[in-house]
Amino acid sequence: MKHFDSFPLRALVVLTLASVLVASAATAQPLPKHPNDLKYGELDFDIPRAEQYRHTLSNGSVAYVVEDKTLPLFTVGVRVRVGSFLEPADKVGLAALTGSMMRLGGAGDLDGGAFDERAAFLAANISSSIGTTSGRASVNCLSSQQAECLDLFFSMMREPAFDEVRLATEKTNRLERLKQRNDEASSIARREWQWLMYGKEHFSSRNVTGASLASITTSDLAEFHNSYWRPKSMIWTVSGDVDTQAVLKALDERLAGWTNEGAKDVPWPPPVPRNVPVPGVYVAQKEIPQGRVQIGSLTAQRKDWMAKDEMATDLMNEILGGGGFTSRITKRIRSDEGLAYSAGSQFGLSNYWAGQFAVFYQSKSETVAFAAEIAYEELERIRTSKVSDGELTTAKGAFRDSFPGNFESAASIAGLFAQDEYLGRPHEYWYTYQKRVDEVSADDILRAAKKYLKPEEMVFLVVGDWAEVEKGDADGRATMGQFFGGNANMLPERDPVTLEPVP
C-alpha cells in the first residue's frame, strides 16, 4: 500500500514500459467484436497470509495489524465474546443498551458530554455496540493524535461511567423508536419473519418493550459491562498509518492491569432455537399499495466451513436469486415481467444454529400472487434440473474473479482474519477459495438444491393490504387461492411498544 503520489521508482518504470506496449498495440488492431474476444493478462495479486499480520499481545490476546500509510488515519477495533443471549429474560435490551451506553455515558472522570466534546475535538470516531452473538468497539483517528485517541478509547472500554442523564435521554429516545415499529412494512416483516422461523422463545427473537427498557438501570449496565467486557475474549484489529511494533506496545501499555478477575463465564456456543416453522401463508395487514413478500424456510447449521455444501449452496443461490440480473428470479420477476423493483433470494448456513433461505420481493398488491407463482416455478426448476453450463460459468467467474476485492483495504484484511478467529473459520478458507469455486459441478448444485430447498415446507409471509393482494391481478394470471389451499393465517396487529396483540 503506497502513498497517493509517491509510489516507488521501480513501479514507475514498469508502468511506463507497459504504456508503451499498449500504445503500440492500440494503433494496429481493430476492436474486438464482442467482449468475450478480449484478451487479458494475469491479475497481479497474491492472497495475503494471516500469519504475516498476526501478533500476540502481552495479555495473550490476538491482534491483526495491517499497515497502510496512504492517508494519515488509523483504526483500532476489537471483537468481544458477548451478546444478548447473556441478558436476563426480564431485561431484554440490556446487552444492546450496554453497548451503546459505553460510548454515550462518559468514561473515567468525563461525563457523557465531556467525553463527546473531547472525542469531537480530536476528530476521533469512537463506537461501541453489542449484538446477539458478538460485541464490537473501534476508534478511527488521525495518526498524529494516536496516543490521545487510544487513551480515550481504552477509557471508554475500561471505565465507562454510564452517566445517569445520558441513560435517561437514551431511554426516552429509544422509547420513541419503539413507537415506530409498525410504521415501515419492512420492520413488521423483519419481526414476524424472525418469529415464524425461530419462534418467540429463542433469545434472538426477543424484543425490547417499553417495560423492559424502563427496568434497565445504570447499575444493570455497569454489572453487564463488568461481567463480560473483559480482555480474555478479545480479538484486536489495527489498520492504517501505524508502525506495527509501536502500536502493539501502545496497546500493551493500555491493557496493563486490566484483569479478568470477577468476569463471568460466557457459555459458548449460544443456545439453539427449538422452533420448527409451520408451513403456510401468513399475513400482516398494512394499507400500502405493495405487498412485501418473503417465502422460505430454515436451512442448516454450518458444521464445516470447507465442506462442499458451503460453496455449492452459495453458487446455487447466486444462480437462483442472489446474483442480481444474472439470476433467475430477478430476471423473471423484475426484468421479464416488471413486477418488482427488487426481487431475489438469500441462502445462508449459519454458525450457531440453522440458517435461512428466503425468496423476497415487493410487488403491487394485484401481482403479488403472480410473482409468487414464478418464484415457486423457479424453486421447482432448480431442484429438479441441472443448471446450464453458461449459468455455472457466470456464477463461478463472479465468485472467482471478484475475490481479490475482499482484500482491497488494510481494514478489510485485518477484519477478515480477525473474524476467522472469532468464528472459528480456518484461514485456509481464503487460501483455497478460488480452487473450491472451480470444483463445484452442476450435479453438486442440484444435490444442494434438493437437500436444502423444500417448497412444501416453506413459510409464505405477506405484509400488505390483504383484500387487494388476495384477489390477484386483473388479467387473471394468478390469485392467492393457489397457495396452501387459499388458507391464510392472519397475524394479529401488535402494539408497537409492548408488541402485545391489540384487542
Binding site: 500504445a23 476492436l31 467482449p35 391481478d473
Partner: protein, 594 residues
Amino acid sequence: MNRLTSARLLACVTLIGALCVPVMAADGASAQVPVKTFELDNGMKFLVVERPEMATVAAAWVAKVGSSDERPGITGLAHLFEHMMFKGTRTIGTTNADRDLEIIDEQEAVQEQVREVYAELRRAWRLGEIESPYDSENRPERLIELNKEFDKLVEEQRAIMIKDEFDQVYTEAGATFMNAFTSQDVTVYINTVPANKAELWFWMESDRLLNPVFREFYSERDVVYEERRLRTESTPTGKFNEMVTAMFWQSHPYSWPIVGWPSDLRVISKAQADQFFDTYYAPNNLTGVLVGKITVDEAKQLATRYFGRIPRGEIEPPDVVTLEMEQLAEKRMSGECDCPPQVEIRYHTVPFGHADSYALDVLSGVLNDRTGRLYKAMIEGAETASSARTRPDSGKWAGSFIFSAEAKGEATPPQLEAGWEAVLAELQKTPVGDQELRRVKNGFLADTFRSLENPFFVMIQLALFEGQGDWTYLNTIADRTEAVTAEDVLRVANKYFEPQSRVVAHYYREEGTSAEPVPPELAALPAAQQQQILGQLKQLTGMTDVAQLQAIVGQVEGQADQVPDEMKPAMQFMARKIKERIAELESSSDGEKN
C-alpha cells in the same frame, strides 16, 4: 501533497470541566487527491487517480443530466433512462440485431395506439364519465387487445434475446458494484473491474453509448413504477416529502420528484427517450472517472480507441435556465402519517460551490451531533425531541438548508419549531465561540481524509462534483472550510434564514394507525396493566361529575402510598390525568358562566 501528519499542538485550551485538549493545526494542511485529466477530440473528459497498489479499477462516467432537465409530461425520464442503459446494445443482448430492431418498431406502433386509448380515457375522466383514466380493473376491450398484441411481440423478441447479457458479461468477469444513480443534476454509471480487465470497461461503456438498444422499454417502465411504489408510496412520509419539495420550489424544475409523477410514467414513450439520449448523452456532456490500478497513459490509449469512436453531439446540451422566484411569504403544510410527530423546515440558500456554501456547512456542523447545539437544546435532558438535525442541500442550480426533528413524549411539532427558532436566534445574535468553531473544523478536516479511505467512494465523489460543475471541489473544500470565520457564520445565519423564505411542514401520527403510545410513567408495568390503566383513563372523557372525579383522586392518592415503588409513578400519573380532567371541566363551566 500536504498531510495532516504535520499537525502541531498549537495550544492547550480549557473547556467545560477543565478538559485540556490539543488544537489541531490547519495552516494549509489538507487532503489532496492527485487527479490527472485529459480530454478526447469529441469533448469527453477523463479524470484518473492512479492507485498502483490496488487489484481493481473503480470506474464511472457521469452524464451531466438529471431530473431538472425534464419538463412536465416527461418527468422521471432521466431516471427511467438510467435503467434503460442496462438493456444492451446491437451486439450485447440479442442474437439477431436487425430483427430485434424491427420488433421494437412494431412494439412502438402498438404502444402509440395504447397512448391514443389513454388520451380517450383521460378525456372521459375529465368529463366525469369514469372514475380514473388508468383503472386496470375497468380497462376497455381495445386496451386488452392491444396488450395481447404487444405481449406477442415481447414473446417473439424474447426468442432472439440474450437476457440481461450486459450484466452477465460484467458479472462473469468478476466486476462488482455495477449500478447507476440519478439525481436532480447528474446520472452516474458505476462499476469496479479486476485491474487486468480494465479494457472490458472501455469496451462495454463505449458500446452502450455508441450502439444502445432500448429493448424491454415498457416492462422497465413498470419496474420504475414499482420502485416508486416501494420508495415513495409504501413509506410513511414518502408522498409527503414529494409535496414539500413541490411546495418549496416555485419556478425551478427541482420541484418534481426524480422518479417522476405517476401519470407521466404511464405514457412516457421510447421516442421521447431516444430524443433525450441524443441531447444529453453526447460525449461532450460526459466525463469518465477511473480510480485504481491504471495509469493515465493506459487510460488515454484505451479511451481514445473506444470512446473516441463516438461522434460529438450536434447541439450543446442546454443549461437549466429557469431561476427560482424569490419567495415572498412563508408556506406551511400539516399532514398525518404512520410516523412520529415531526417537523421539517426548509430555507432557500445557495447552489453547489457558492462562496457562502462553506459557511453554511460550518453552521450546520455547529448544530449537529451530540456535541452540537441541537442535541444540547432539544434532546439531552429536554422533553422536546428524540432527534434533531440540519442538512445543507446544494444542487448544481439552486440550494436549500433543511432542519428536521422528531418529537419525544408529549411534545408537538409547534414545540419542535419553537425549539429550532430559539437555537437559530442565538446563532443570529452571537458569533460562535473559538473552541466550538475549532472543534467543528477539526471534524471537517479529518473527514476530508476519511472520504478518501475508500477508492470507490473517491470515484463517486469525483463523478458527482464533476457533474455538479467542478471536480476540484474535492481538493479545495478543506481549505475553503478552514477559512470560514465566526463572522461568516453569523452573516449567513442572518442572510438565509428569513421566515418568509421558508417552508414549514408539520407531521402528526395518524389516529388509529397504532395503539396509543404508552406514557413513560407506565413503562414499568406489565403490558396488560398498562392497557387496563389506559382504558380507564379513556373513560375519563365521558365523565362530567367533578365531585365524583375528586373522590377518585382521593382514592388513587391514598393507594399510591401503599403500592410497590415501581408502581408509584403510574399512580401519580393517573391522579394527574384525573386532575387535568377536573380542571378541564371547571374551566369549561367557567366559560359558560361568562
